[in-house]
Amino acid sequence: MGNDVILVLVVITALAFDFTNGFHDTGNAMATSITTGALPPRVAVALSGVLNLIGAFLSLAVAATIASGLVNTKVVTLTVVAAGLAGGIIWNLLTWLLGIPSSSSHALIGGVIGSTLAAAGGSAVLWKGLVSKVVIPAALSPIIAALVAAVGTWLLYRISRRLTRGARNHGFRIGQVGSACMVSLAHGTNDAQKTMGVITLALIANGTLASGSSAPFWVVLTCALAIGLGTYLGGWRVIRTLGKGLVEIESPQGMAAESSSAAIILLSASFGYSLSTTHVATGSIVGTGLGKRGADVRWSVAGRMATAWLFTLPSAAIAGALAYWLAHGIGGSAGVIILLAILAGLAGAIYWRSRATKVDHSNVNDEWTGTTAPSEPQPAAAA
């Protein structure tokens, strides 16, 4: 009793979300390598894309949490999934435009929860799962990541203090490339899973798969490709904020930050927490500023990010709910098709707006002047 046309559209939308997830999060792995010059920008994003692709095949633990741990799958329809995805994509694109490294995972989870709430009310959301598996880890993970990165940074400078500056930078740049690769791999194992979970949810909702099924191979493959491609295209705006805006980073700090991120993400994923890689990476970068004497953390930038984090779940939820009411109000397949057409239009408009203040591989490392786009003197818009 499924509707195959709508199912195909929903799967395409989910892959589009995965793609935005990739390019929004390239910076988590590669921002510090790009700003310290350890890797040329385009090599960095290509390497990260390939490792995301591999990482997506590495583990399927997180997909299960998304598919069954957050909402009651019995009330989920294709319209609910489509609306949830629409909410997540809009929030991801808006934060990317502003260069804010907000959490793609929270955007997706918020969108799905918002549309479920709109469709079936509060009882359809598994609140305890949401708080214990998403909200509490989101609050703790940046703090733990900052602690580990601060300890790592202190140790690295302590151990290497007799080295000449040139030798130290050269050596740690090599280490930094290795640790950045681990973060990319961890990102693939964590974030690609979330979209696999959502597509599985849609397949279950449509009756194509039995309840409780795991992701079929074609879902794993297409999600891996979508996130790899998105990563390769590179979210230069977010890379710039993370690599230049927060702390001025040297290669030992970059290595400490990335090692901390990779360790925390992989450890948490194996406990089934669908962590936000963005929160972890940002926490690590702040930690590496705290661990080095004389380094300055730009707390105003950090504060702006933290504000965006608080807003991500509820904003994406509101967007998801509005999308549901729109699609449901029109009704049937036409509702979903019109919703997705509006989504495509909005995405196009945001992309067009971003061209006005372009950030790409050529200017990503320009001096931080308080704005996301280097050439533009106007103050950055508030989150």
């Binding site: 703790l140 990165a149 140790l155 151990i159 080295l163 000449t164 050596g171 948490s268 194996s270």
Partner: protein, 90 residues
């Protein structure tokens, strides 16, 4: 199920410190051993970027450190794969 899984939390902190701060520290120790002065004539000055000083003992210590790191990464990736692909239950 409680709100905060404390046993998972302390494991993440402890193993996070070992892997996330310990392994880079080991890398730094390896790097420091590698630059130990030896047979190589050193280019003087603070901006010299030679990382190999020509000391054989240093090179051996460095190689051991780097091999431990690679082994730890390989083991970690293997563990993640194992946890992420549980054997099907019959």
């Amino acid at each position: 199920m409680s709100w905060i899984n404390l046993s998972a939390l302390w494991k993440i902190v402890v193993f996070g410190l070992i892997a996330g701060a310990g392994l880079p520290a080991l890398f730094a120790i390896g790097l420091r051993a590698l630059v130990m002065p030896g047979s190589r004539v050193q280019a003087a000055g603070p901006d010299s970027d030679h990382v190999y000083g020509g000391n054989v003992l240093g090179a051996v210590i460095a190689a051991i450190c780097f091999l431990i790191i690679l082994a730890a990464l390989g083991w970690g990736i293997y563990e993640v794969y194992q946890i992420g692909h549980p054997a099907p239950k019959h």
